[in-house]
Symmetry: C2
């Protein structure tokens, strides 16, 4: 399956590249990180293969071990959150309560739909079989984002509220990007923000 990239056979360097150290300036570490982000997001941790990532980066699979110690290290390095969550939470809190839920949805969709931001989706795709991903998701929801947000609002049951918000956001990511269910998969961010924003608003601010 997944017979899209050449994978195992050659990915032949166009008869040009020889062995040994390449001329400086070509940063293979960065190339690996970029390729890893793309492949992990598409396939999840288990589905992605080191050979496929290295092939997309145009280098040998052994480079993964050399630069990151192995597949796990590459995953951890590639799936770092691109935006500082502290800044994000402050931004949400500073804008006031009005329309908070819609702003959160809009922000998530903006990050996810952009090129760089698929990290969370890669983690979500990996969660099923990769305990480290499950831990990352838990900590992201309870500690990094929604937990801090609910606590910043100074309301009761912040952990439960964070978990509820997490359930709606994770579900949105699953249906839009993994399951690709229409019409939600192609809906524009404004429509989704209007539809789903009030849900988060209620989870965060109203009485449970």
């Amino acid at each position: 399956m997944t017979a899209d990239t050449a994978d195992t056979a050659d990915t032949g360097p166009p008869a040009g590249r020889r062995r040994g150290r390449r001329p400086a300036g070509e940063d293979t570490r960065a190339a690996l990180l970029d390729a890893a982000r793309a492949v992990f997001v598409e396939q999840g941790f288990d589905g992605a293969t080191v050979r496929a990532i290295a092939g997309r980066a145009g280098v040998d699979a052994a480079m993964v071990n050399h630069w990151f110690g192995g597949k796990e290290g590459l995953f951890a390095a590639a799936m770092q959150i691109p935006v500082d969550p502290t800044v994000l939470v402050d931004e949400f809190l500073a804008s006031g309560l009005d329309g908070l839920g819609e702003r959160i949805v809009r922000r998530f969709l903006g990050v996810w739909d952009s090129t760089r931001g698929g990290a969370l989706i890669g983690v979500i795709r990996s969660v099923s079989s990769h305990e480290q991903s499950a831990r990352m998701m838990r900590e992201f929801i309870t500690k990094v984002l929604f937990g801090r947000l609910a606590r910043g609002l100074g309301i009761d049951q912040p952990d439960m509220r964070a978990a509820l918000c997490g359930s709606q956001i994770v579900g949105l990511a699953m249906v839009r990007y993994v399951i690709r269910l229409e019409p939600l998969a192609s809906a524009d961010p404004d429509t989704l923000a209007e539809a789903i924003g009030p849900t988060l608003q209620r989870y965060l601010t109203e009485k449970l």
Copy 2:
């Protein structure tokens, strides 16, 4: 990883079972289905191995091929929905609009928390890397359950409403059973029905 079952080595039948046909009455086909349900729910399609399933069922891995034609066939046979969705939809519609959202949440949690009903969770766990599972989820949401429900209510944008409900339900399953995020993972069904029910209610009945 996942070094819980004996797996590859022996799973030695206690020096008792010999070759050849076993005495009738022991239905190995049913044993395989039970074991497959458990392992697919725990590990997802890719994570589950034919050897682990056969080991749990107490038979040889070759039986999977003999009875189901292969791993795919076993998955399809094991992940059939245990309750008739037509009956379910009729039941929801018959009870009226009042508290509909809460009833749906309660029904899902009841099925999921029971022994037999983890099929949907197995599918959700497999969705990331298994296109057949993604298709099953799409059809379940749009055609089998929420789509039919929204159409039965005779309201506008039934597809979008079904997808929104699907996003919340899939997210609930992910957070409660896969990511296992507290306090939601251990919350009792009543609490969750009160918290999440209104979300479905709004997605199904109120203006978007």
